[in-house]
Symmetry: C2
Subunit: 247 residues, 2 copies
DNA sequence: TCCTCTTTTTGATCTGTGTCAAGGAACGAT
DNA sequence: ATCGTTCCTTGACACAGATCAAAAAGAGGA
């Protein structure tokens, strides 16, 4: 158990995209390569960015806002498989069709790169390919941590895990003020939280109330969360690690 | 729903490693690079290849046998986060410490590459880095499919999902004879299956019995599985996709 | 072959989370 | 303000899967 750590990754100073390799503003050489293939798209809260199976002629990076990657079964059961926060990357070289449905849960701005030239670039610029590999490996670690949450944690631990992931991530990105007491905006509905954690929205609501009653969190309105003691929250999450792999 | 498909990936003819980039026997140029940094290690069933946190000076590819990647909480709750079948890759460039515990569930042979020269190679050989990215993206897709299983499927569907993953994988690798009727060796104990699916071993046993009683599978001994109708199994798994993302 | 150890199966009971249902709070539109 | 809509909370009850327990089935080894 330890304090929220300093960013371990390279942050770009004037844009919110974490990895310089896919950020057009950071490196002059890459700037030239990327400047003419990128463009911005905005979405409003609740809007679907793309449906699973859609043709997708770009890859993208989240500039601001929150989006979710979800998978849905024929009978409607839904599982979130990715949570896209600012600096996260979506899409993959070599895939024309989106594998997951992407939904904006807040107003969202994405920086898109046309796929063909992007693929050409990663094939010719080892540096960029290497960054992309690093990012993908980080995502894989996050997915595996998430599997432990889904498979073995109780409802209460699941909620605490999700809150501590978002809290830590916000702290890293500087969205939340530093210090022992953390405050952040939970940009997810109860239903989205349920889809993240493999629960029902009623169970999410009950456990949020329980954590509030027990003083682990405080709610300002519905979505604004205050965490008086981050260590306490992480203990509730059943998390002995420092969460280094969770983005 | 569709028949078991032909391999979509490039298979190396004279070695079991799927991706040529990490196979020393397939490409003369890479042969020279890899031949002097690789060595083989064998493990017997039940042996732990490495513990989470161990120093790891190699990356490796499974030649034969089955291994598992597991994560364990302080109180002993265990979740499998990766299933390593022949041709799968383990380890990542840039990480000195193993993030997960690797256990051989059968006799196991791994082809190891010393990490430092391997890292050097992926930094200087774009082709290899590109392959590694592809493999990692496939693993990420598999992890996300798995998240749907863990979060939203019933015990019966979970079992059917696991069986159909292994059946399809065996069919692809040619371990199992082709055709509508599939037969394969389930190289996992009930406990390992439970750790994969976020269940208890008793529930796994009960659902295996139920699937057998209902004629979805037949058991020759404890571990040998026969699947009379693969489509039926996939329906039981609640799986509408062709499973293309599951390795 | 018998014995021991591990793995698997099956039974009885308990419990955490899902399901169904109703009401409350927040927020924008008229 | 008042309505309508969406999101959230709380309650009562049901049930899938966990837990506890014991017996059965294999798999070596002497």
């Amino acid at each position: 158990m330890q304090q929220v750590v300093a960013p371990a990754f390279k942050t770009c100073s004037d844009c919110p995209i974490r990895h310089r390799a896919v950020c057009a503003k950071c490196d002059s050489q890459e700037l030239e390569l990327l400047e003419d293939i990128k463009y911005y798209r905005s979405f409003s809260a609740g809007q679907t960015v793309m449906w699973a199976g859609d043709h997708m002629d770009f890859v993208a990076s989240v500039v601001s806002g929150v989006a979710t990657l979800t998978q849905t079964m024929e009978d409607g059961r839904t599982q979130m498989v990715g949570l896209l926060l600012p600096s996260d990357f979506v899409g993959r070289p070599g895939r024309e069709e989106a594998a997951y449905t992407v939904t904006a849960t807040t107003d969202l701005v994405m920086c898109c790169f046309r796929r063909k030239p992007f693929e050409h670039m990663i094939n010719t610029t080892p540096h960029v390919a290497h960054r992309l590999l690093e990012m993908t490996l980080d995502e894989l670690d996050a997915a595996r941590e998430w599997m432990l949450v889904l498979g073995r944690k109780t409802a209460r631990e699941k909620i605490a895990s999700l809150l501590s992931i978002i809290a830590r991530r916000d702290a890293l990105l500087g969205t939340a003020p530093p210090g022992k007491e953390l405050s952040f905006d939970l940009a997810l509905t109860r239903e989205a939280m349920a889809d993240y954690l493999g629960l029902t929205l009623e169970t999410v609501s009950r456990q949020m109330s329980a954590l509030k009653r027990d003083g682990v969190i405080a709610l300002d309105g519905k979505r604004k969360i205050r965490v008086p003691d981050m260590d306490r929250l992480m203990t509730e999450a059943g998390d002995d690690s420092d969460g280094g792999y969770l983005i």
